[in-house]
């Protein structure tokens, strides 16, 4: 499900106000093969997509919230400089105002085409997450399929409440790579939301149809 559909599902009708949609990715490393990064970005933008993270404010059950939503359709929802910048600005704004921060993840990890600068976004974002916690602002993370690599190793699992969708694959290293690296047979359901619930990484597994109602209740409890 794309970012636009998630925003429509969670936000009160007409309440969404997008921020920083004008900041755009650039080919800083001169990446040409197998596809030029510029062409990859242009193709995604021609499909009407605006980077792997969109962020803004909304109300949810009449309560204000910051919302940051990954979009897997934009280069696999990869964490980029623009994504990291939008996340950090939103986290800082939420910390300053005390308005709850809601995150929806869907990502393969950091964006290879931005090299080590994409890796640095993990630190940029987690520094801001630490400040959000210090400001005692609620932070709920909704983990959707898939959530891996640099996103699971940055803000995705650092929320006060980690809420996973049923069956969503959540982990650091993908199952294919683990099998290649270790020749291990992985159990059925490895890295599923239910597996992560059993292993202490998420607080609850909530189906999409019940999510908005559950969030409204949680926003009430953590007000």
């Amino acid at each position: 499900m794309g970012a636009d559909a998630w925003i429509a599902l969670l936000a009160d009708p007409g309440s969404w106000q997008e921020r920083w949609s004008d900041i755009r990715p650039h080919d800083l490393l001169d990446w040409k093969r197998p596809k030029a990064y510029e062409d990859v970005i242009d193709a995604a933008r021609e499909d009407g997509l605006n980077e792997a993270v969109r962020t803004g404010t909304a109300t949810i059950g009449d309560r204000p919230a910051w919302l940051a939503v990954f979009d897997f359709r934009f280069v696999g929802g990869t964490l980029s400089i623009v994504a990291g910048e939008r996340l950090a600005r939103g986290l800082e704004a939420a910390a300053a105002s005390g308005v709850p921060y809601l995150l929806v993840t869907a990502s393969g990890g950091a964006r290879m085409q931005e090299g080590v600068l994409a890796l640095m976004q993990l630190a940029k974002v987690n520094g801001a997450v630490g400040r959000l916690h210090a400001s005692r602002t609620p932070f709920f993370s909704i983990l959707t399929d898939p959530t891996f690599g640099g996103v699971s190793a940055s803000l995705a699992l650092m929320a006060d409440l980690n809420i996973a969708e049923p069956g969503a694959a959540i982990g650091f290293t993908g199952a294919r790579v683990i099998k290649q690296a270790t020749y291990a047979d992985l159990p059925k359901g490895f890295q599923s939301a239910e597996f992560q619930l059993a292993h202490g990484q998420v607080d609850m597994v909530v189906p999409r149809t019940e999510l908005r109602r559950r969030l409204i209740h949680l926003l009430e409890l953590y007000r």
Partner: protein, 282 residues
């Protein structure tokens, strides 16, 4: 030396089996080093060696990945690839260093965190994420140096610091060249092409503003002269530490936050992102 090597030759130098490892450096920099073990939760991760000792007249906490030189040692050290327990040990000792006011030096040399089922079952993602987040709250000077391989989030979990240095022939990357090739080509045999595009050399990272300093290695590389490499590392670390010792802890943490908050500002992004300095209220 960097001038004459291809990117892939540099990768091979960074991974050279005779390259000095954490133990080779720490025995030279901190002769009275006392190793400390365990995360106080479940285990001790041998892929990360950590301990305290006297460094230029003061007690300091040193930690780093240990790859192991023989096959037996490599198996025991897991080639320097940490499990969740390693990141938890690092944080436990970082908090201890904060308690006693010890500066912290992290020497990074890992292909990445361990890509195995056990690591996943015990929460490797959250362990790395928690480490990255908590390093921003450790109110003593933190120095990091990439001494060989700095691979992915597994390396960054030990490299959120006030100053980050690189040995000349080391590499630091969002993913290993093999992993990056597997992601963008679906074929890890394209590792050389991936390495060339990723910009992972010390010179690249200095130009991007991701590291503060590159430490020149002896002619032929660090593996040809451990003593000279250790002297160069020692001198650079001490030089980096000096100004940090005089900083007020709150200012130190503010600056560490800003170091990463605006770390991408050098690479031409400024015009697209607007003002980069002072936005968090300095």
């Amino acid at each position: 030396m960097t001038d004459t090597l291809s990117v892939w030759q540099l990768v091979e130098t960074a991974r050279h089996q005779d390259r000095p490892y954490f133990g080779d450096y720490v025995s030279r920099l901190v002769p009275d080093f006392v190793e400390l073990h365990g995360d106080r939760l479940s285990a001790d991760d041998p892929a990360l060696v950590a301990g305290v000792g006297t460094w230029h007249g003061r007690t300091a906490l040193f930690m780093g990945n240990q790859k192991g030189r023989t096959l037996t040692e490599r198996l025991r050290r897991n080639w320097g690839m940490m499990h969740p327990e390693g990141y938890r040990k690092a944080l436990r000792l970082a908090h201890q260093a904060a308690k006693f006011g010890f500066p912290i030096v992290c020497l990074v040399d890992t292909p990445g965190a361990y890509p195995g089922a056990g690591a996943e079952e015990r929460g490797i993602a959250a362990a790395i994420a928690g480490a990255i987040m908590e390093w921003f709250t450790i109110p003593v000077p933190v120095l990091a140096c990439i001494i060989g391989e700095g691979g992915s989030g597994g390396a960054l979990g030990l490299a959120v610091a006030d100053r980050v240095l690189m040995m000349e022939n080391s590499i630091y990357s969002v993913a290993s060249p093999e992993a990056a090739a597997s992601i963008v080509w679906r074929d890890n045999a394209r590792k050389v092409e991936a390495a060339e595009q990723l910009q992972i050399t010390s010179r690249d990272l200095l130009a991007m503003g991701v590291v503060e300093e590159v430490i020149p290695e002896p002619p032929g590389g660090a593996h040809t002269d451990y003593d000279a490499a250790a002297r160069a590392l020692d001198a650079a670390l001490v030089r980096s530490l000096q100004p940090l010792l005089e900083e007020d802890p709150r200012a130190l943490l503010e600056r560490r936050y800003e170091r990463y908050r605006y770390i991408d500002s050098l690479i031409g992004a400024a015009e697209h992102f607007g003002p980069k300095v002072g936005a968090t209220g300095e």
